[in-house]
Structures are given as C-alpha cells and as structure tokens.
Symmetry: C2
Subunit: 201 residues, 2 copies
C-alpha cells in the first residue's frame, strides 16, 4: 500500500498554508532567473558571478567572498571567475597590501553584458508593482532571509548600510571600523561579505 503513512505530507489533501505559498513563489522567482539563464552564452554560475562582482564593494570583490556568497567551494568559484576573465568580462588585479589576494572588476564589456542579464527581467517585472507593494514584498523576503540565516547559523550577506561596523564621522561621511577605511555614500549600498555578522533588518 503505497499511500499508507500519510502523516508527513498527506497526499491529495496537502495543507497548503500561506507560509508554504510564499516559499513556493519565492522559489519560482528565483528559478525563473537561475534556470532560464543560458542566455548570452553564460551559464547560471557565470551570471551569478558577474552580478556579484557588479554589486559587491571593494572589500568583497574576491574569489573567497564570491565562493561564500554563492555557497560553493573556492576551487569552483576560481574556475567560474577564470572563465569570465578569459572572456573579457572581468579583470584581475593583484592586491597591493596582500600578495596572495586579488580583486576582480567588471570590464566595460562585462557591464554591457550585464544589461542582458535574465535577472533584469525580474527587476522589470517588479517595477510593475506599486512602490508600497515593492517595499512590503522586500521586507517580507528580508524577514525570510534573516530567519534562514539564523536557522542555519551561516548568516546572509548584507549592506554596509545596516552593518554594525559602520560609524558615521560627522559631515565627512562614513567609515568601516572593521576595515578601517572610509566609505562613500554609494558604497553603503553595495554588498559586503564582512557585514556577515549583522542580523539587522
């Protein structure tokens, strides 16, 4: 009897709760990007990398940071990035202060390509929501991500904007106390892997 033990996930009378619905929808949106993206000859992983290096701040545009963000190994991340460098989407610059480290930046071609990112379709789609709806949806998703981060105890990337390491020094702008470097206003909106510890909304 196949349909015997129905306690866990009762077939045919599945309780579709509202939290399940939200989760399903988020997954579908995510897949709409990640799956659909053999476009322009880039693989999903390569798109992810391109997006990441476009959005991350200067402390975070590194192999390790991307590997972390993309939940993969440094080895795999290295390959992905290598292919992007080879194809002229990224440039590699060795770090001055740490001889082991290197940072990667988008070339003009990389930035041009990013305009054809399948992800941009989602951005355009979101534009059809009212601003209030966008904010509410974003706040809900943020809540989910925060909970997820707590549960698996491996926190999500965040913006310096919301980071505990950030301190304002008067009219001169902001500084990251962790990196001991000043931050421009624009940089506050970029992804930072060192904001990892922050669980704030």
């Amino acid at each position: 009897m196949i349909f015997g033990s129905d306690t866990i996930f009762p077939m045919g009378k599945t309780r579709v709760t509202s939290e399940r619905r939200v989760a399903e929808l988020a997954l579908q949106v995510g897949r709409a990007v990640y799956g659909e993206s053999s476009a322009a000859g880039l693989t999903p992983a390569q798109w992810m990398a391109l997006r990441f290096f476009a959005r991350a701040n200067r402390f975070s545009r590194t192999i390790s940071a991307f590997a972390d963000f993309h939940a993969t190994t440094r080895g795999t991340a290295s390959q992905t990035v290598k292919s992007l460098v080879a194809r002229g989407f990224l440039t590699r610059t060795r770090s001055a202060r740490d001889g082991r480290s290197a940072t990667f930046d988008l070339t003009a071609r990389g930035r041009r390509t990013l305009a054809a990112d399948p992800f941009e379709a989602v951005v355009r789609a979101a534009l059809h929501l009212s601003p209030a709806q966008r904010d509410r949806t974003a706040s809900g998703l943020r809540g989910i991500l925060r909970e997820l981060a707590v549960e698996r105890d491996r926190p999500a990337p965040a913006l310096c904007n919301l980071c505990g390491h950030l301190s304002a020094n008067g009219a001169q702008g902001f500084t990251c106390r962790l990196m001991r470097e000043p931050l421009s206003a624009a940089e506050l909106e970029q992804l930072c892997v060192h904001c990892l510890q922050c669980r704030a909304t």
Copy 2:
C-alpha cells in the same frame, strides 16, 4: 580606461532602486534552496522533481509537465525522474487512456524524504512572518511572476483554483472543462500545467 562607458550600469554609484532590491532578495531566497540542496544525497534538480510531483495534480504528474515547469528539456527531465524511480522515490504508472503517457507518484519513501527538503527551511522561515505579511509578500511575488510570464510569453503554472477552465457544478463540487473531469476540493490547491493560460492573480 576600463570604467569609461558607465551609462548602462554605472559602477560605484549604482542606482539600487526598490524594484532591484525586491528582485535581489527573491533571487537570494531561491538560491538558498536551489543551491544549498545537496542534502540527503539528492541534487537540486531531483529535489525540484520530488517537490513538483508532490504538488502537481493528477493531470500534471508527467515528464512533459515537469520539464515545462522546470524549464528544461524532456530528455533531461526523463533522466532526473528515472533516477528518482530507480531510488524508490517515485513510482511509474502507464496511463490507461494514452499508451504513450505515464504518471509518476511519490512513494512513502519519497514523501518521507520530502520532509528533509531544504525547501522546508524556507517554509519554516516564512512562518515567522505575520499572516498579513505573508499574504502581502505572496501577492507581490505573484505579481512579479505574472509580469514575467507576460514578458516572456511563456506563462507560469497555476492552481486550478484560479483557472478559467474551472466550473462549479452546484453542490457536487467542481469540474475542469478542459480535462472533462471532476475535481475534488483538495485538487483545486494543486499545481496544474493546463492552467497555463490563466494570468489571473
């Protein structure tokens, strides 16, 4: 000069609009599931299949439907499903009315495994939102998916619940006019690939 043509995606002063933020968050939630899921020895694609066959109604538990849903080819879908059948998560039953077709159903083991689905972590996380917040978030995501479907003219799967093919026949319940079959109340909540044409919220 690498940072010359900044018109498309201005580096360092990226406009992070609210629609971009929503899209990014949705992508992250999606990735949290799809990437993170080498758990329990199943690949992301296999998890997707398991989820799909657990959630789809009896007209949709088929290779083609899953391929459609998962935005992949029938060949690939066939392999994914084959592996799940081989490992005892799904059973294959040939269709009575169409000799070519077959439907796949979760075994008890499949259903048990689904409880360890990394996706469930997202469901649990969503549970921490208030019911109202869940609904608002869901409605926003639905809006995005609807827009996406319109844009790429390849509509998203839906629930019979909202489908134009559904007609109520008095106290006896509901019927799908397309399939010419009665539907139970529970089935209205399941995924249907034939609801594809419906763009209703």
